[in-house]
Symmetry: C2
Subunit: 342 residues, 2 copies
């Protein structure tokens, strides 16, 4: 293994000079800088991460808690992770994967100084992990939005606003009885933050328009068609559907087309999902994109800023955008509210 001492010798300078060349924390004459840089290159030196973290008390690693619970959209999770990793790298950070939903995994990583900060996904409205997290020294950012007192920064897509936006669209198309075909029952049962917020926005918008809206759990399997049938059977006047379930979307779409509830001429669906999922369905459908990768990179930005000593930004929500594909008179409507910070 080649150490900083080897580099120093090769370049004919002291160890500390090499260190300062690498960190840029002190002024170095151009000539020595070049000598050192050449030595680093010829020897192929890369500093020992452990030694570095011991001396500098920082690891350049961020712990990322990702959900393995049932019912989550892997597609979305994966994209968020992609965004986090890519953006963190641009700040010089690597990602340590934490998957156990037992918060002791995060505690272990934090107390063992394995990470400089923690990023937690799959937040529930009243998340038990938050208590543990507040006791840690490392800054923490949540991807999601718990209810009540928010003691730590949150980053997420504005699902509540998305609910309003979807209802707006369905109302504009003349629908007067709406249904939200949502996440699987287990996701709703544990009050996953995004599902709660979407339902809240959806129901509030319905109420504001004096229209009946109902929320339905939906499995990610082909059984989704059965849910559609039940919803329609229970109240045949339902004509407008907000679908927020990536895996179920193809089935729901197919069934609503079969039953005449959705067609290009008479659209009855707004889908809430990543763009490519909306496009993969056999026919046009209006959709609100879940900008999963953008959420991830925003979260990475926030947390890197906090590590650097920036002030915690409170809540950062990414505004929803509706893309219309079922009518030619409008192409895309950007919702007025832009990204808002609290």
């Amino acid at each position: 293994m080649v150490t900083i001492a080897d580099v120093a010798e090769e370049a004919g300078v002291s160890i500390s000079t090499v260190s300062y060349v690498m960190s840029g924390k002190r002024t170095i004459s151009p000539t020595t800088r070049q000598r050192v840089e050449r030595a680093i290159a010829t020897l192929g030196f890369s500093p020992h991460a452990g030694a570095r973290s011991l001396a500098s008390r920082s690891t350049n690693v961020i712990g990322l808690q990702i959900p393995l619970r049932s019912g989550v959209d892997v597609h979305v999770v994966m994209e968020v992770v992609t965004g986090v990793v890519a953006q963190a790298r641009t700040h010089g950070y690597d990602i340590l994967l934490l998957t156990s939903d037992d918060p002791r995994g995060m505690e272990r990583a934090a107390k063992g100084s394995m990470v400089d900060a923690l990023l937690v996904m799959d937040i529930e409205s009243d998340d038990p992990r938050i208590g543990v997290l507040t006791h840690l020294e490392q800054p923490t950012v949540l991807i999601g939005l718990p209810e009540g007192r928010r003691t730590m920064p949150c980053v997420d897509f504005d699902f509540e606003e998305a609910g309003w936006l979807a209802v707006d669209r369905l109302l504009a198309q003349g629908h007067r009885r709406l249904a939200l075909i949502g996440s699987p029952a287990e996701v709703l049962a544990r009050h996953t933050s995004y599902a709660d917020r979407l339902a809240r926005g959806f129901l509030a918008a319905c109420a504001a328009a004096n229209v009946v809206g109902s929320v339905h759990a939906c499995p990610s399997s082909a059984d989704a068609t059965a849910v559609v049938d039940e919803v329609v059977a229970a109240d045949p006047s339902v004509t407008g559907f907000l679908v927020h379930n990536e895996s179920a979307l193809p089935h729901v779409f197919a069934r609503l087309v079969e039953t005449g509830k959705h067609s290009s001429a008479k659209p009855g669906i707004v889908a809430l999902c990543p763009e490519d999922v909306a496009l993969s369905v056999p026919g046009p459908v209006d959709s609100i994109a879940v900008p999963a990768e953008a959420i991830g990179s925003a979260a990475a930005d926030v947390i890197c800023d906090m590590i650097a000593g920036g002030t915690p930004p409170g809540v950062r929500l990414i505004a929803p955008t509706l893309t219309v594909r079922t009518s030619t008179d409008v192409v895309a409507t950007k919702h007025p509210s832009t990204t808002r910070a609290t």
Copy 2:
């Protein structure tokens, strides 16, 4: 921060004694052991990972390279990751996420002593990363199976055998002209290991049975139906389909049902995908499970064993199993070849 010195003082022993209690590398009397353990608990001590890695020259972290390339089945990737993480944890290892397909990311992690070993997913038949990996000090395990000289251990599902198995089943059902509806074109174009091997097994089995088999790229979107139509149009005698494309499966299934190529009475499909995907389709379909999580944990076992000094196991392939759902006379056929090690 509480250090090992604090623990030593609290317990009234020396620092080294505390260390030996934790590592178990020397005999310690029951009484001191208890005193130390109590001290650790009361102070909530957890050793500094960086210091540890500096002194012991090992990090207890495994680098995991996961693919972000287009066309891969996120579902499968996610499950593999799950298996890796969970199993690695049982061996005391954490996972550092590496996503850039640029091998310099892995080089950086390895040369900076951030990881004890590397696990590389999404292997291509002639993978350019392998050259870089062989120069690293850390052991490396591939999830996939490159062609040619195999200089490093490989773990994967036996896709080639799966091809034979699927053909067996389709032949047994009387089909005499088969088609493999496979991965997206970009996956085939870069000769992703699993796609190549599946095609090889499929074509070899067809040839052995003196039956015509053809391989077709298929996008993950609704355009999959168009592929089905093209295949059938090009040769209407095709009646047996092996489908290996998680996202396309619902569309392919639907189209084949519509065109009368598949039904419970006259099944024409064998699906190669995770179990839950096969079950999510609206109707029974025979399938060969891709045991993604098992692949991940097998890989983790192999790599942990290598770190511990075990001899590299060569190639480890998990045998395929066919699950029959379209006929009541057979329930499940375990293929004769069991997990084989080379």
